[in-house]
């Protein structure tokens, strides 16, 4: 078993919106292991980003954690704030769910957990040179100043493959293309020297060829700097490219989680089936592409049973009544669906999923 670096337990996040309460994250539990790449997939609005913003204390001001804990096993405890820290069988941890003050978050942000944002065009300060922005992160977290910081920044710029770093160091963001800016953003993240790197759809705003370059860059840097990567995306192609493990989110809950092969070739939850079936690559020529009917549930109202049931044509009666527990498929694979209960009738996954399944058995790879 690998070493846990982060453990989210029963996390529940709500937002108060115009006098109503929206339940965005519904009792999510998730473990992240050191050195892995965990991809969180799901459609827009399922809570992928909200979940991750909790890890870095950037939840919007109308959002709040009302239950659960986020145990981060990397931080040194702070004697002044003993109640923020705890100890269990895996060692001391910082409970990020209890972090409130900016002063406390400054010990986590950047140096422990860092994040790459979606849109590189807007995530750099337009009035500061690229070099200054990278060096700022270095001086904050590596204690280097002046020339030393510049040297380190240049090294990182070489690592993210920015050509001619000496010249580029003095340039401003508007002199960079989108792909290059995302490299700069990645360089800033690396410069913080974090243990966990969260990538919030870092390739969505880029075109496909640049996407591939950025993905391989992230993979490479992960090895070089021994990072743990949490990758958020709704692009299943990206998932196949980068993931070790995949968590599928739906309506603020993780409904299935497993190794990437398990999710692609032996998916168990009807939502995962539907998601995979809607891959355009799996479409049959001449037929309409598959799409999931209906809309995600209204999170202002309390969701009863399996959140996906109303959109699932094969839903069982119990799906509407009771939330299914996680059923273990393999030591690394579990899914939250009543179909895995031994009393459940046999429901076959759609044809395309079965064909994937047999392919996976033969090819056994990405």
């Amino acid at each position: 078993m690998q070493e846990k670096i982060l453990s989210i337990e029963n996390l529940s996040v709500r937002f108060s919106l115009r006098g109503r309460i929206l339940h965005a994250i519904r009792q999510v539990s998730l473990d992240v292991y050191k050195g892995e790449t965990l991809v969180i997939v799901g459609e827009s609005g399922c809570g992928k980003s909200v979940l991750n913003k909790n890890l870095i204390g950037l939840l919007d001001s109308n959002g709040f954690i009302d239950n659960g804990s986020i145990k981060y096993y990397g931080a040194k405890p702070d004697a002044k704030n003993p109640d923020l820290y705890g100890e269990d069988e895996k060692g001391t941890y910082a409970d990020l769910a209890k972090f409130k003050k900016e002063k406390d978050w400054l010990k986590i942000r950047g140096q422990e957990i860092c994040m790459i944002l979606q849109d590189p065009m807007t995530s750099l300060n337009p009035l500061k040179t690229i070099g200054a922005q990278i060096a700022e992160a270095i001086s904050l977290h590596q204690g280097k100043k002046g020339k030393e910081a510049k040297e380190a920044a240049l090294q990182i710029m070489r690592d993210v493959r920015i050509d001619d770093p000496e010249r580029r160091y003095k340039q401003y963001p508007h002199e960079f293309s989108g792909g290059m800016r995302q490299r700069v953003v990645i360089a800033i993240a690396i410069a913080c020297n974090p243990k966990i790197l969260i990538c919030d759809e870092p390739t969505t705003a880029l075109d496909v060829t640049i996407q591939a370059q950025v993905l391989s860059l992230i993979r490479e840097l992960k090895e070089k700097y021994k990072l743990t990567v949490i990758f958020i995306t709704h692009d299943l192609g990206v998932v196949a490219n980068i993931a070790d493990r995949v968590a599928v989110m739906y309506a603020g809950d993780i409904i299935e989680i497993g190794m990437v092969e398990e999710i692609f070739y032996q998916p168990k939850h009807p939502y995962t089936w539907a998601l995979l079936s809607s891959l355009p690559q799996l479409g049959v020529k001449g037929e309409d592409l598959f799409s999931i009917k209906g809309t995600p549930p209204n999170l202002f109202a309390e969701v009863k049973g399996d959140a996906f049931a109303p959109r699932n044509p094969q839903a069982l009666k119990i799906d509407f009544e009771e939330l299914p527990p996680y059923f273990t498929v393999s030591p690394t694979h579990k899914a939250r669906t009543w179909l895995l209960d031994e009393r459940a009738p046999k429901v076959e996954p759609p044809e395309v999923i079965r064909s994937l399944n047999s392919e996976g058995g033969a090819a056994n790879g990405k």
Binding site: L106, M115, S123, N125, L127, Y172
Partner: protein, 314 residues
Amino acid sequence: MLKYLAKRLGRSFITLIIILTIVFVLMRQMPIEGYFPNFDKMTQEQIQNGLKLMGMDKPMIVQLFNFFKGLFLKGDLGTSRIYRNNVAVTEILGPKLPVSIKLGSLALIVALLVGLPLGTVMAKYKNKLPDHLGTAFIVFIEAVPAAVYYLFIQLYGTQWLHIKLIFDINDWKAWILPVFSLSLGNIAYYAMWLRRYMVDEMTKDYVQLAKIKGVSSTGIMFKHVFRNAFVPMAQYIPTSFLNTVVGSIYIESLYSVPGMGGLLVDVVKKQDNNMVQGIVLVFACVGVVGLVFGDLLMVLLDPRISLGSKGGHR
């Protein structure tokens, strides 16, 4: 950059000529009754003589030519006729101009030194007590007629500082109240806009990234947001300097400051043509130079703006 500046100053010069020409021509469209206080009792001959004395008997184009010839060759703006009879305009404006400029500059510096920090604090504590207090101050300054609080400041301020009501140019203490009064409007203005721009900037992604990087919120304010929010305001500063100088009419009359704030209105009413032209020249110079200076300030602050090269490199 230098080429651009030369071009820009050349154009400014043309602008000045145009402004002066327009003012010159307009002033000469005024009814001639206005030049003579006892017009009704004068004979036709006396009137003609009077006009001749002012050089107004010649055709307009010749008058204009003579004016510019005097201005460029000798720096001569003519003599005042009514405000102070037969005294050169330059001689009248000479001692007044520095006083007004000094008053305006001091007021502007105070406005920047107080207004910018106020705006920053308001933005940092948005929707909290400092923000509300600041907003109350701004609303008060903008809504209450300036004359009201100017009077109060004069009355209570002079008592409190133990100084005379009347301005004394050589006493530094006497400068305090006029400068402070004059800066109030700009303090409110700078605070209001800086707060607004900063709040705007703080929602941007790069601020989010700076937070993620681990920069403290104070650090973000000063290292990232302030400069970015200041750029759109920078251009306004030289213009606001001009407004301060011109707009000091009330303050100058209240404290009897020997400046030139109220002078323009006064001499226009009296149809003292040469004085009007002289003052307009001064104000137009300040305005035009202010605009150039404002643009230069923008270039210094924002690397995305480049002057001169066409289209820039985006």
